[in-house]
C-alpha cells in the first residue's frame, strides 16, 4: 500500500492505496464519487473522463498513485449551489443525453475542449470528442450542446 495525497473537487484526501489501484476506482470506491463511469477496459470509450490538473484524462488508464499531489475535478464538482454548469445546462436544453452513461465523461471532455481552445468550429468539436463514445445520441446534439455552452462561457455577460 502507498500513501497518496490527492485533491479531488477542492478537498484534499490522504489515503492508502494499492499500487495497482486505478484512479477511477479510487474515486468511485474509496471516495464514493460514482458520477464517473467505467465503460470499457481499453481506454476507448471515455466514459471515465475527468480533469487532472485541469486537463482531461481517462481515469481508467491512470493509477491513483500517479496522481499523488494532483488536483482532480469530477462531474460532481460542476453544479454550484444547485445550479447546473453552463455545459450541463446546454446538454439538458439540446437533449444531448439519453441513457446518460457517457454523459459525465462527455461533459468533462467538452469542458477541457472549451477551456483549452478559442472559438470552436463543428469540426473542432467532433475531432476533439474522438476519445468519447456515445451509443444513444449519434453525437448530433452533443456537438450542438458544446457549441452552445462554448458561446455562453465566452460571452462577456458571464464573468
Amino acid at each position: 500500500m502507498r500513501r497518496v495525497s490527492i485533491t479531488v473537487n477542492g478537498v484534499e484526501h490522504e489515503a492508502m492505496v494499492e499500487p495497482r489501484q486505478l484512479l477511477v476506482y479510487f474515486l468511485r470506491e474509496q471516495l464514493g464519487l460514482t458520477g464517473t463511469n467505467v465503460g470499457c477496459d481499453t481506454t476507448t470509450c471515455g466514459a471515465c473522463t475527468i480533469l487532472v490538473n485541469g486537463k482531461s484524462a481517462k481515469s481508467c488508464t491512470m493509477l491513483a498513485i500517479q496522481c499523488d499531489g494532483a488536483e482532480i475535478t469530477t462531474i460532481e464538482a460542476l453544479a454550484q449551489d444547485g445550479a447546473m454548469h453552463p455545459l450541463q445546462k446546454a446538454f439538458h436544453e439540446t437533449h444531448a443525453l439519453q441513457c446518460g452513461y457517457c454523459t459525465p465523461g462527455m461533459i468533462m471532455a467538452g469542458l477541457d475542449l472549451i477551456n483549452s481552445n478559442g472559438e470552436l468550429s463543428e469540426d473542432d468539436i467532433r475531432t476533439g470528442l474522438e476519445g468519447n463514445l456515445c451509443r444513444c445520441t449519434g453525437y448530433h446534439n452533443i456537438v450542438k450542446a458544446i457549441q452552445q455552452a462554448s458561446g455562453e462561457m465566452r460571452s462577456p455577460a458571464r464573468t
Binding site: 453544479a79 443525453l97 441513457c99 445520441t137
Partner: protein, 816 residues
C-alpha cells in the same frame, strides 16, 4: 378502429425538456455499478478461451486458497442450483432444436466465453485474481464457425443430442411464387451479408443480488431492459418461488437489445446469493462482454425480385441463413422472423416467399439488436430495388414510386396477411427529396463524374417500413412466442392533487418519465411537474412487459392513456354527484368538469381526488380512492415508415468513404415529445451508419473473436459522423387512440441500405454494382482495384455461388 383525439394539448407534441436529465448530468444517477452493500462479495467468472472443447476437469484448489476468496465453483459444483437451463422463449417451429443451456458449462464448452467456473471474493480485484488460478483441463474439439460449413454433411456438431447443426427452417409462401419467378421478364438475384455486430451499450452489464434469507426473498438488481420478464424467468431457472423474487432495473446505460435477455450471470448471482446468504455483485468487463453478451445480425440473404421490363415488381423471394451461435438465448430464433413479413417493404407484389434456416455455430449467441430482423429485411429490399433500377435503367427514386403501395388511412391487408395500420409513402419521399436537394445533388454528381474527380459522389435512397408496437398477444401465440405482448399502467391520484403514474415499460435512455408525464398531465389537466413516473421495480410495477421493439409508447404509453380515461370516468361520477347534476350535464376539458351552460359550477380532477380520499360524500356504490389500472393488449402492430437519403463521398484513390449529407423524413404517427423523437432518430441513424461503414465482429477459423475489445471493434465517434437533417410526416396509426407508432428503431432500419446504396452509386462509373457491409476503405479500395477501371463483371449471381461462405461476412479471398 380507434379514433385519434384532436384536441389542444399543453404538453403533448412539444419538445418538453427531460425530467431524467438533472441526475444524469450531475453524476447522481444510480447505475448498477454504483450499488454497494455492507458485506457484499464480488463475483468473477472463469470463461473458456476455446470455442469448442470437452471439460476434463476443473481444479479450484489453488484459487480457493487465495486472499479474500470465499468460494470457487465449477459447473458441476453448481449443477444442483438450477431448476432448468437458461430460457429460450421463442421456439419458432414445432420441430426446432432446443439445446440445454446451463448457466455454467458442465461437460463441454461451445463458444469462447462460455462460463466454466465462478469465483466469489471480498473485492473485485481478488475475485479477478483468483480466476487466473482456476485450472481447467480442456480437450479441444473441431470448431464450426461458418454457417455453410456447419450445415455440410459430417460437420462437427455443436450439440451432440441433435442430428446436425440446423436449428430450424421457417417458411412463408404467398401466391404462386414459382410461376411468378419463372415467367417474369426480369429477375434480379443478389446475396447480402449482415456481419455480426456487437451492441456496445456504453454501460456494461452487471448484477447485484441481495438475499433476505429468513424471508426466503431475493432482490435482484440488474442492468436490464426487461425486469418483468427476468423475474419470471429467473424464478423458473433458479427454482425460487416467483413471489419471492423482486427485480429492480436501476438507471440503465443503454441496451439496444443487448439487455433484453436472461443471462447466465443473472442466474449465477441469484444462485450464489442464495447459497451464501450475503449480497453478491458481478460487473462485466467490456472485453468479457464482447464474448458474454449477445451479438446481433449475422445473417446471409439470397434475395430475388421479379418484375416486368418496366420495373414493376411482381414478386420477392428471400432465403436466409441466420447464425444462432452456440445456444438459443431468450429470443434468438425469433429475430429473423421479426423481419419475415417485411421482405416486400412498402411495395406491392403478387408473390412472396421467405425462408429462414437457423444454424448453430461455435460462436457467442445472437439475439435482438436494435431493429432485430427488420433492418435485415429493409436492407435486402432496398438493395434489390436499386439493383432492379440498374437492371431496367431507371432512377432508383422513380422505380420506388412505380411500386409503392397506394396511400391508405384505414388499416390495409398486404400480401403477407399483415394489416398495415396507415401509410403514405410518396409524401415522405417527396419531402425527403426536397430537403435533400435531390436534383442539385444529382447535378453535382454528374459534374464530378464528367470531370473524373478523384472524390466521387454517391446518392442512396431507402424507403422503409417497420413493424413495431410488439405485439398483439394472439399474433405472438401464432408465432409460437411464449409470452404476451400487452403492457400495463396504473395512475394514482393523491389527495393533495399530485399524481403517480406506474408503467410496465423499462426505459434505459428513451425518456419515458418525461413522455409519460406529458401524456398524464394533458389527460388529467395537472402540471407536468406534479406527475411522478415509477418504473423498473417489479414490486412497485408488478405488471409489465418491458422495453424493446419500439413498443413502449404504442403499448405502454397507450395503456397509460386508457388508465387516465378510467380516472376521468370515475372522477366524473364523483364530480356529478358533488355538483348535483347528471353526468351527461358535465363537460370535461383539461382536468376540469364543468356544468354545461354554467361553467362557474365546476370541479377539477385534483378536487375530486381529495373527495375520493375523504369519502365523505361519494355516490352510492363508488369505492373510495382515485386509482386505476389498465392493461392494453394492442389489436395490431404499428407500421412506422419513411424515406432516408444519403450522400457519400468516396475517395477513389484511398477508398475512404464519408457521409456528407444525411436527410431523414420519418413517419411515426402522432408524436409526444419532438426532441425525444428527433434524438431517437439521430441515434438510430448513427447506429445504422456504424453498421454500414464501420462495425463487424470477426472470428478466426478457431472460433476466436478477433475483434475482442472496443480497441479493435470500431464504434464510430463524433469525428466519423455527420449532422443529420431530420423531418417528419404524420400519418396517425389506426391501431391505438394516441395515433402513435414508435420511433426507437427506425433510424437503424432505414440507414444501412441508404449508405450502401450511396456507396455503390458512387462507384457505378467503375462498373461496381455490389459491395458488402461494412463499406470500409479497404473494401472500397479493393473493389476499385478489382474493377480495373470499369471492366468488372456484375457480381449479382457470382456472390451466391456455393462455397462463397454463407456464414462469414468477410470470406478470405472473396468479396471486396
Amino acid at each position: 378502429m380507434a379514433q385519434v383525439a384532436e384536441k389542444a394539448q399543453k404538453y403533448v407534441g412539444g419538445g418538453v425538456l427531460r425530467k431524467e436529465d438533472p441526475e444524469l448530468l450531475t453524476g447522481r444517477a444510480q447505475y448498477i455499478d454504483d450499488i454497494s452493500m455492507p458485506g457484499m462479495l464480488w463475483i468473477a467468472i472463469v470463461r473458456s478461451p476455446l470455442a469448442h472443447a470437452t471439460i476434463n476437469s476443473v481444479d479450484t484448489s489453488q484459487a480457493s486458497g487465495m486472499p479474500g476468496v470465499k468460494g470457487v465453483y465449477s459447473g458441476a459444483d453448481l449443477a444442483g442450483e438450477w431448476a432448468d437451463g437458461l430460457p429460450c422463449a421463442w421456439p419458432v417451429t414445432e420441430d426446432i432444436k432446443l439445446p440445454k443451456h446451463w448457466p455454467v458449462a458442465k461437460d463441454k464448452v461451445r463458444h469462447a466465453g462460455d462460463p466454466v467456473a465462478v469465483v466469489v471474493a471480498e473485492t473485485r480485484a481478488q475475485a479477478v485474481d483468483a480466476t487466473e488460478a482456476v485450472e481447467v483441463d480442456y480437450e479441444p474439439l473441431d470448431v464450426v464457425v461458418d454457417m455453410e460449413a456447419a450445415l455440410a454433411p459430417g460437420a462437427t456438431k455443436v450439440h451432440d443430442d441433435f442430428d446436425d447443426n440446423s436449428c430450424y427452417v421457417w417458411n412463408l409462401d404467398v401466391g404462386d411464387v414459382d410461376d411468378v419467378f419463372n415467367n417474369a421478364p426480369v429477375v434480379v438475384k443478389e446475396r447480402y451479408r449482415h456481419p455480426r455486430l456487437i451492441p456496445n451499450a456504453i454501460e456494461p452489464r452487471g448484477v447485484v443480488c441481495q438475499p433476505n434469507i429468513p424471508q426466503g426473498e431475493f432482490i435482484v438488481y440488474s442492468a436490464t431492459q426487461v425486469p418483468h420478464i427476468l423475474k419470471t424467468m429467473l424464478a423458473l431457472t433458479v427454482g425460487v418461488a416467483e413471489q419471492k423474487v423482486r427485480v429492480i432495473a436501476p438507471d440503465v446505460g443503454g441496451g439496444f437489445g443487448s439487455k433484453l435477455n436472461v443471462y447466465a450471470e443473472e442466474a449465477i448471482c441469484l444462485a450464489i446469493g442464495r447459497k451464501l446468504g450475503v449480497p453478491v455483485k458481478w460487473i462485466e468487463e467490456r472485453s468479457e462482454g464482447y464474448l458474454a453478451t449477445i451479438h446481433g445480425r449475422d445473417v446471409v440473404q439470397d434475395m430475388e425480385v421479379a418484375a416486368d421490363e418496366n420495373g414493376k415488381v411482381t414478386g420477392f423471394r428471400a432465403n436466409l441463413h441466420a447464425d444462432m451461435g452456440a445456444y438459443l438465448q431468450l429470443v434468438t430464433p425469433g429475430i429473423p422472423i421479426l423481419g419475415a413479413f417485411l421482405y416486400h417493404g412498402v411495395y406491392d407484389c403478387q408473390a412472396y416467399s421467405f425462408t429462414c434456416t437457423g444454424v448453430f455455430t461455435n460462436k457467442t449467441p445472437t439475439d435482438a439488436y436494435r431493429g432485430a430482423g427488420r433492418p435485415e429485411a429493409t436492407y435486402a429490399v432496398e438493395r434489390i430495388m436499386d439493383a432492379l433500377a440498374r437492371k431496367v435503367g431507371k432512377d432508383p427514386v422513380e422505380l420506388r414510386r412505380l411500386n409503392f403501395l397506394e396511400p391508405f388511412d384505414e388499416a390495409r391487408e398486404v400480401i403477407t396477411g399483415l394489416s398495415f395500420d396507415s401509410g403514405n409513402y410518396g409524401v415522405s419521399l417527396d419531402k425527403a427529396l426536397e430537403n435533400f436537394g435531390y436534383d442539385d445533388m444529382r447535378a453535382e454528381q454528374k459534374r464530378r463524374r464528367d470531370s473524373g474527380d478523384a472524390k466521387q459522389l454517391g446518392i442512396g435512397v431507402s424507403t422503409y417500413i417497420e413493424m413495431c408496437g410488439l405485439a398483439p398477444s394472439q399474433v405472438l401465440a401464432s408465432l409460437r412466442y411464449a409470452a404476451g405482448g400487452w403492457d400495463a399502467a396504473t395512475i394514482r391520484c393523491h389527495p393533495t392533487g399530485k399524481v403517480t403514474a406506474i408503467t410496465g415499460t423499462a426505459p434505459h435512455g428513451q425518456g419515458h418519465v418525461t413522455s409519460w408525464s406529458q401524456i398524464v398531465a394533458d389527460e388529467l389537466g395537472v402540471p407536468f411537474e406534479d406527475v411522478e413516473v415509477l418504473h423498473g421495480d417489479t414490486a412497485i410495477s408488478p405488471l409489465g412487459m418491458d422495453t424493446y421493439g419500439s413498443r413502449s409508447l404504442s403499448v405502454g404509453g397507450v395503456a397509460l392513456h386508457y388508465a387516465a380515461r378510467k380516472i376521468v370516468t370515475k372522477a366524473k361520477t364523483i364530480a356529478a354527484h358533488e355538483l348535483e347534476v347528471a353526468e351527461e350535464d358535465l363537460e370535461y376539458d383539461s382536468g376540469t368538469f364543468s356544468v354545461k351552460g354554467a361553467p362557474d359550477k365546476s370541479k377539477t380532477v385534483a378536487e375530486v381526488a381529495f373527495s375520493a380520499w375523504t369519502a365523505h360524500n361519494l355516490p352510492e356504490g363508488t369505492e373510495p380512492g382515485l386509482e386505476e389500472t389498465h392493461v392494453f393488449d394492442p389489436p395490431n402492430f404499428t407500421f412506422p415508415s419513411g424515406a432516408h437519403l444519403c450522400a457519400v463521398e468516396v475517395d477513389t484513390e484511398t477508398g475512404l468513404t464519408r457521409v456528407v449529407k444525411y436527410v431523414a423524413v420519418d413517419d411515426c404517427g402522432k408524436i409526444i415529445n419532438s426532441a425525444i423523437v428527433e434524438g431517437q432518430v439521430h441515434g438510430g441513424i448513427a447506429q445504422g451508419i456504424a453498421e454500414a461503414m464501420y462495425e463487424e465482429a470477426v472470428y478466426d477459423d478457431n472460433g476466436v473473436l478477433m475483434t475482442s475489445s472496443m480497441a479493435n471493434y470500431r464504434v464510430p465517434s463524433a469525428a466519423e459522423l455527420p449532422n443529420f437533417e431530420t423531418d417528419r410526416t404524420e400519418t396517425p396509426s389506426t391501431t391505438n387512440p394516441l395515433g402513435v407508432k414508435g420511433i426507437g428503431e427506425a433510424g437503424t432500419i432505414a440507414s444501412p441500405p441508404a449508405v450502401v446504396n450511396a456507396t455503390i452509386d458512387a462507384l457505378a462509373p467503375f462498373g461496381i454494382d455490389h459491395i458488402d457491409k461494412p463499406v470500409t476503405p479497404e473494401r472500397v479500395w479493393a473493389a476499385l482495384q478489382n474493377a480495373g477501371g470499369g471492366s468488372v463483371e456484375g457480381r449479382g449471381t457470382d456472390t451466391t455461388a456455393a462455397g462463397s461462405g454463407v456464414g462469414s461476412a468477410d470470406t478470405p479471398g472473396g468479396d471486396a
